[in-house]
Amino acid sequence: MDSVVTLEHVRKSFGDFVAVHEAHLSVGRGEFFSLLGPSGCGKTTTLRLIAGFELPDEGRVLLEGKDVSRVPPYRRNVNTVFQHYALFPHLTVRDNVAFGPRCRKLPRPEVERRVQGMLEAVHLVPYADRKPAQLSGGQQQRVALARALVNYPTALLLDEPLGALDAKLRQAMQAELKRLQREVGIAFVYVTHDQGEALTMSDRIAVMNEGRLEQVGSPEEVYHSPTTAFVAGFIGAANLLPARVVSLGEGRAAIAVAGDQPAEAAAPTWRAEPGQGATLMVRPERLRLAENGQGVSARLTAVVFQGAVVRCSLRTPDGSELVAHVGSDRPSPALETGRNYRLQWDPDAARLLPPPTQGAGAPLDAGVAGGSPVGPPAAASSTFHP
């Protein structure tokens, strides 16, 4: 793979606190790559390791195949869009954008040509002679982008660049960023804690938790086939139930779940033995309610109409809580709280995750994880939970 940014077994700690454990990833040319995780998960440190503001304790950082682990930031051909933009307050928009080319001592006509072109690309020509303090948040954000992209970096590093904008502007800027990224064809490494943002824009997402890379994959992969309970809970809403593997078949696994009730799930991608404990993950929108027949028995405890879907809370006989989203246009069967229903799912929609290891994903052992009910990727783009 034609990789522009590579981290090889990178580890970084601050005193006793290990900010990044064994980060191992590579970003391809022109790829939109997101580092997603809650605050304090090490995503910003990972970005700073690529930029050169932090030096790895172990491992190597490579840019276009060259080891830059010990190279200072000003000799690395990557540029950063900082969280609060960090525009130079004493310089005009034009001089802010020209800062990089001038530091690299490009000939003056070349500097002017590039700056003008970049200002046009981000629609800032009328504001070229203003100071950053005279611009709105969205305009400042575009200056920050222009100031970084004008250097044609190997990769553009973005640290929660939309975090300071209001929800509406943020959505507009997401589209703008994506358009710009396609136009310039430069790899973006995008740090965010907003799963909706990551799902909408990314080619691939690296989900981080407590300094570890939990999973790296396309938005569809991390949403539909999470490999850990943490990923399942962090991206979208997920029902996570303790389960036991009964037997393994061709692409299927028979399991016992929710008080030893028999059920089926997709065969685990990890090495599992019959009799072993696991965590069952099913998205709320993949659960169906039936009045009788097959399926796991659960009692309906609450029904909330949410517009497109009806949110049903259920409790299994062993006390686990679940959430099912039922389309509000087809209210079959009649939903009555207090009654018992059968929960059914397509075995391919049910994933078996390895049992939680000590330390990682501890709060997500069972029950409903992920606070916000977010639909599949296509729907996620229009839903924000600031």
Binding site: F53, P73, N79, T80, A86, L87, F99
Partner: protein
């Protein structure tokens, strides 16, 4: 007042004036009134035109005026050259020592100005440690001296006003958002360019404030030249002091004061204009 007429809410419209009032009254009583009285003394000679006193003062003591500005300017430049690196080190490199260093910069204020300058007299004395050390290093000719020379006066002025240079520079450096430095490095700025293109321009307000706080009192100083120099290094401040308190020629002393104020004001305006006052925060 305009504030009342403009606002529907009288109380909030009046508030700024009420807050300003004590300060304004104080300045009226203790600054404007004496200044006007000074101007009257200077500008109403017993004979001749109103500017006669000024003319006379300028022709007799113009040399002292020029010297005062030369010394003050030199001391300001020296203080900036000494103070900036120190302030920089305190703001960016001192770590836990920061507060200790800040305390040390302010420590001289615990001793009065006069005593500190008298101490310099001892330090710079002909048989003193500094003269002997410089002599041994052949940095000072045999029989060379520091006390009662221009170097003594400049040294004293620089020393006495150095904290007024350091503190504003320190504050403006401390205020610089460290992310701007990272952004500059990220945009290919080597350490020297980061300093020249980001740190220095962002600390200019502090340098400007420090220069004014050093230059203005240094130009009017009468202690350093008096104690560390000879009549050949006499500054205008000493002349005014002598005319007011010894000779008791009030019109001359008042004229000299007025001239000093006028030229300081002129220089300060030119200076702030050149550097841009909008950033003087």
């Amino acid at each position: 007042m305009a504030g009342i007429a403009a606002g529907g809410s009288r109380r909030s419209a009046l508030a700024p004036y009420l807050l300003l009032a004590p300060g304004i009254l104080y300045l009226l009583a203790f600054y404007l009134v004496p200044a006007l009285s000074l101007a009257r003394t200077a500008l109403s000679p017993e004979t001749g035109p109103w500017y006669g006193g000024l003319q006379h003062a300028l022709s007799d003591y113009g040399m002292h005026l020029v010297r005062s500005f030369q010394y003050a300017l030199t001391a300001t430049v020296l203080a900036a050259l000494l103070g900036y690196p120190l302030a920089y080190a305190m703001a960016f490199r001192a770590g836990r020592l920061k507060n200790l260093l800040l305390g040390l910069v302010m420590l001289p204020f615990f001793t009065t100005f006069l005593v500190r300058t008298l101490a310099w007299k001892t330090l710079l004395a002909d048989e003193g440690l500094i003269v002997r050390a410089l002599g041994a290093l052949h940095l000072l000719p045999v029989e060379g001296r520091l006390l009662n020379t221009v170097w003594g006066v400049l040294g004293g002025l620089t020393y006495n006003f150095l904290p007024f240079m350091i503190l504003p520079i320190y504050v403006s450096l401390e205020k610089i958002d460290r992310r701007h430095l990272e952004a500059a490095q990220d945009l290919y700025g080597a350490p020297a360019s980061v300093f020249r293109k980001v740190v220095l321009p962002l600390s200019l307000p502090g340098l400007l404030a420090g220069s004014l706080l050093t230059f203005i009192p240094a130009a009017g100083d009468f202690v350093n030249a008096e104690l560390l120099g000879t009549p050949n290094q006499k500054m205008l401040g000493s002349v005014i002091y002598g005319q007011f308190l010894t000779v008791r020629d009030y019109p001359l002393a008042a004229s000299l004061s007025l001239l000093l104020m006028f030229f300081i004001l002129l220089l300060v305006l030119a200076y702030t204009r050149a550097l841009g006052t909008e950033d003087l925060a």
